[in-house]
Symmetry: C2
Subunit: 140 residues, 2 copies
DNA sequence: CTGACTGCAAACGTTTTGCACGGTA
DNA sequence: TACCGTGCAAAACGTTTGCAGTCAG
């Protein structure tokens, strides 16, 4: 659990309870859709409006506090900004897990884009499959 | 240009003009959003309904003829199913370019997921940046 | 105290649906 | 001919907006 108030203020955003609760939920779950964030924060803050969640997610993405993680065939999820990593997306339960990025991969991708004269800004590696938990459930 | 009628029939889909035009547009442009497909096919088939485009895209994705390419902050695009490749997504013009996948990357990712007991089904590598064309336009 | 933020409700754009008609096989 | 597919219009849905009231700094 981080100091969300400081994180917000460092990005020119007021530290409201709504925003801190949103950030806390996202950090607890790792990756969340707008709906899931709304449902979760509603538990501790029953007057929360869905519009407020939308406005804040958009704002925090603009300010570089959050990143959108687009997922094939589903609504996007959001995560806190952190070091480059790989997403393991479970096609059964929808959960997303982070894995550290290997230096070799990084180097390969940079080499590729340099040859193409493509000014690389952001890498995104998503691996879709069935997570260990869901594999075991199918087996049982 | 491929034989779209055969491709459709091989996937239990009737070869209508709407579907063949949709596939031809996607192959010509590489990657297209629903709107762009609609606009394009409308030129040669003015009675086309947007609902028909939606129904067919969904159907062809289910049947494995097309794949959805999710893009951060934008509507998804669609492409014909083809060998694994990397997407270079231009953040200026929105264009998506395909690059062949290096065997080393593939091996690395497989090793990673095997160690995690993750049953890998699909890899997706998207690199965001500025394409050569847009870099030159900014310079001029 | 003041501007930024929230919650509400309405507006908006996109996607989906149901149905009668038309076209493929 | 039988069914699948299309086009239309309406419905459903997700997201955005405007505004009056509230709160953090």
């Amino acid at each position: 659990m981080r100091d969300y108030a400081t994180l917000l203020k460092a990005n020119d955003l007021k530290a409201t309870f709504q925003r801190m609760n949103i950030l806390e939920s996202i950090e607890n779950y790792g990756h969340m859709s707008i709906d899931a964030i709304y449902e979760e924060v509603l538990k501790t803050h029953p007057s929360l409006s869905l519009a407020t969640v939308y406005k804040n997610i958009i704002l925090m993405v603009e300010k570089g506090v959050l990143v959108e993680v687009p997922i094939t065939g589903k609504k996007p999820k959001y995560e806190l900004v952190k070091d480059d990593h790989i997403h393991l997306v479970c096609t059964e339960c929808g959960d997303v897990e982070d894995k550290p990025r290997m230096q070799e991969t990084d180097t390969l991708l940079h080499t590729l884009t340099n040859n193409e004269h493509f000014k690389l800004e952001k890498q995104q590696i998503n691996l879709y499959g069935v997570c260990e938990k869901c594999q075991m459930e199918v087996a049982s």
